[in-house]
Symmetry: C2
Subunit: 142 residues, 2 copies
DNA sequence: CTATAACTGAAAATTTTTTTCAATAAGGAG
DNA sequence: CTCCTTATTGAAAAAAATTTTCAGTTATAG
């Protein structure tokens, strides 16, 4: 369990949300998975622990966990439906994703500071954020 | 018109595809738009020039143009449905996107070479590609 | 323990995308 | 230019993904 998700209950409570079996289960499923999962996959896995769980609740829970930055969407050319748990509480990080099995690894360093400053100067944009996704094959899938 | 899209007809023909009014119109709509567009938006604009065009054909055409790298998907937190024309034929490039109006600007320099080499060495991944999206507010929207 | 407001599941609705299939049209051969 | 083959198209239907509605349930503050 990561630094971040250790205190997920507090995070929810702080904002007035309740701690429920559905939320706990969805988060546990994502935490336990080294690979990215779609809402449907999360639903199937979560139902093994929580029989009455509905797919709708999975969607709602994912939206909440995403808003609280406990969970993130993984963007790839194949689609942007799957999600992964946020494991580092370092704030800024990106994803290294295996094209074959979906394994996701976080990495904190992107060294884009100076590139973005130049880009901002050149274009006149007020740059607010950026999103980097690195795709390859993990050691097992090579 | 960009270097790339100047010879889109040849590109299609090379691969055995035909040049049709639908394909021409969809590509023209995307080329003429400084902002990213969803399939639905492309359909609405394209129909002004090509009345009988069907939404299905827009989807099929976009899939083809994407495969041929004449068009690209723009990924943002708000969703990954919209597309933009590829304007530079420099090969590698990324997108700077306005959060407010959807204006898209390409930029070629990401300076990630050494970061990716280190990442590959550290993780054992065989890194194949990466995707960077920078979000901000364009000069007009600030 | 109780009250209350958040949360839930099921069903239905909506939105997005894909498939099917008969009709049409692009473009090479002649 | 005309014919022929085959890619392409539009419409309808189907499938897939996501969201809304609503009545019943449950977490938790007091």
């Amino acid at each position: 369990m990561s630094i971040l998700t250790e205190n997920w209950e507090e995070r929810l409570k702080e904002q007035g949300y309740r701690i429920t079996k559905s939320r706990r289960t969805v988060l546990e499923v994502l935490e336990a998975s080294p690979i990215r999962l779609t809402p449907e996959e999360i639903y199937r896995r979560a139902r093994r622990r929580h029989r009455k769980l509905g797919l709708v609740t999975v969607y709602r829970t994912l939206a909440l966990l995403e808003k609280l930055n406990l969970v993130q969407r993984v963007h790839t050319e194949a689609g942007c439906r799957s999600l992964t748990a946020v494991r580092l509480d370092k704030g800024h990080h990106h994803h290294l994703v295996c094209r074959t099995c979906g394994y996701v690894e976080e990495f904190p360093d992107c060294a884009l500071g100076s590139v973005l400053r130049k880009l901002q100067a050149r274009t006149g944009f007020a740059i607010e954020s950026h999103h980097l996704e690195v795709v390859g094959r993990c050691p097992k899938c090579q």
